[in-house]
Amino acid sequence: MKVRKNIAISENGFIFNPLTGDSFSVNETGVFILQKLKEEESEATILQNLMDEYELDAHTAEKDLNDFLSMLQNYQLTTNE
């Protein structure tokens, strides 16, 4: 899963999709994940990155990451190529 190319992500969590004109806000953990996605990391790597970065158990990390990715997809911010 990748973030669409033209999507702008600011450091403080503001996201703008020029295609649809929609804007979004994400929290710090969200920014962290989006940056990894931009760097084209795999889901497994992001999962590991999350656990390295935060005090976090594997189940919560997996559940939260899945949920977040599904919301990105829902808002059409990602592609599956």
Partner: protein
């Protein structure tokens, strides 16, 4: 040290669709109730847990009494048992000077057990059995007659009771300009039924006619409806004096004042639009004072205020069981406080707050209870900080009607504690166990 973790969230920003009153932070964390830590309460008494603040009951009661007593010389409150009849709660009201207002034989028994003298019990409602009435007559309680069948039953009963009189009043219903009109209880004012009932009562030697009662509705958003009602009650009372030369002893205006809750479907927050005790008191007392009673014949003013006195004193503490995504992407949060113990969630959008600190990020969520039933939905849409399994919530203003209308459905009813005015916590109703339920069941021999 690693930074604190918070679940990732993304929220769509809807420019131009902001609430014109500004967004309200519904979610200030509630970590303490009367200086007692919510976490400690839940650790000790479990989840869910009802908590009642004795201090808040007393403060609200005193505020209400003051609003009326500073405007009118003779005022008496009678605690509406059905609103919350846990004994400990009733006793706080009785200690403050409240009489009891009951609407069934069961509630009547409860009031007696609580030590309320029979002559300070008001017996309302359409369902009074023959046994109930005999007891009420003997105890000199105030019997508020609801319909002609009850009136004739009373007359019959008194025929067999020598030398005994019953103290009675009638319940009056009327048009106060509000819709829907409550006309199913009592005798109608406009069509002359109420006057007719009074005439029949005074023709009976064994019926002592003492007062007039009305209860024009509940959660009355306009104080003026009470002015209209009080005017009609006074007209009846004065006609009665003119006709008989006797004075009416009391006018009972019932309950119905709003609590701070927000009704479902209301755009404005309850606390911003509801009349105050002073507004209601002004509407009622100024009407009575100007209606033409001589100062020495002013009737006692009785109030049966329920929800406005107790809602704010009640809290329900609960725990997040799970969070999930619905098919359309909305978040759903499942908590252990269902509609089984929160009957009032059918009427109100209750205030829900987290019981712990959280970050500034929030998300709209549906709030579901724990029951495996579609009806178990507490809030269709509420903005809450990100909650995760195990987090705790505090639901506010649930003191009225929940601890009486709760149902034993799918799960058991939880503990109820009261925090006294010194901050000490008392268990006032034990959580049910499976025995509380099965002890009442009987399995026929052939099915064992």
């Amino acid at each position: 040290m690693k930074p604190n973790y918070e679940s990732p969230i993304i929220k769509k920003l809807n420019a131009g669709m902001m609430n014109k009153f500004g967004s309200r932070t519904e979610y200030i964390p509630v970590k303490y109730i009367d200086n007692v830590a919510v976490a400690d309460l839940m650790d000790q008494y479990g989840s869910p847990l009802f908590v009642i603040s004795e201090k808040t009951i007393r403060q609200n009661y005193q505020k209400a009494v003051k609003a009326f007593k500073m405007r009118y010389p003779k005022v008496q409150f009678a605690w509406s048992y059905k609103t919350n009849y846990l004994d400990a709660v009733c006793q706080v009201f009785h200690q403050e000077g409240s009489w009891a207002e009951v609407v069934s034989g069961f509630e009547y028994q409860k009031a007696l057990r609580n030590g309320v003298p029979g002559n300070l019990i008001i017996f309302n409602g359409p369902d009074k059995s023959k046994e109930d009435l005999i007891l009420a007559i003997k105890n000199r309680s105030l019997i508020h007659i609801d319909h002609f069948d009850e009136l004739y039953m009373l007359i019959d009963i008194l025929e067999d009771m020598e030398e005994t009189k019953a103290r009675v009043a009638i319940r009056v219903n009327m048009d106060t300009g509000i819709y829907p009109q409550w006309d199913r209880f009592g005798f109608n004012y406009e069509n002359g039924q109420a006057w007719n009932a009074i005439m029949r009562i005074i023709a009976q030697e064994k019926l002592q006619f003492e007062g007039l009662h009305c209860h024009i509705g509940t959660y009355m958003l306009t104080a003026n409806a009470y002015a209209v009602a009080a005017q009609k009650m006074c007209e009846l009372a004065l006609s009665y004096s003119n006709t008989t030369g006797e004075n009416i002893k009391y006018i009972d205006m019932g309950g119905g004042f709003c609590s701070v809750n927000t009704l479902k479907g209301s755009y404005l927050q309850g606390a911003d639009i509801i009349p105050t005790f002073d507004d209601y008191a002004e509407a009622i007392t100024s009407t009575i004072l100007q209606s033409g009673f001589r100062p020495d014949t002013l009737p006692l003013l009785i109030l049966e205020t329920g929800r406005a006195l107790i809602d704010e004193a009640g809290y329900l503490l609960g725990t997040v069981l799970a969070t999930k995504r619905l098919a359309d992407g909305r978040r759903a949060t499942i908590v252990d406080t269902g509609v089984n113990i929160m009957f009032t969630s059918f009427w109100y959008n209750h205030r829900v707050s987290p019981a712990q600190d959280f970050s500034q990020h929030a998300e709209d969520t549906v709030l579901y209870g724990p029951l495996c039933m579609n009806i178990d939905s507490l809030r269709e849409s509420i903005t809450l900080p990100i909650l995760k399994k195990g987090d705790r919530i505090v639901i506010q203003d649930v003191g009225a009607y929940n601890m009486t209308q709760w149902m034993q459905f799918i799960t058991l009813r939880p503990n109820v504690v009261m925090i006294d005015t010194t901050g000490k916590v008392h268990l006032i109703r034990k959580q049910e166990t499976i025995d509380s339920i099965v002890n009442y069941e009987i399995v026929p021999e052939h099915l064992k």
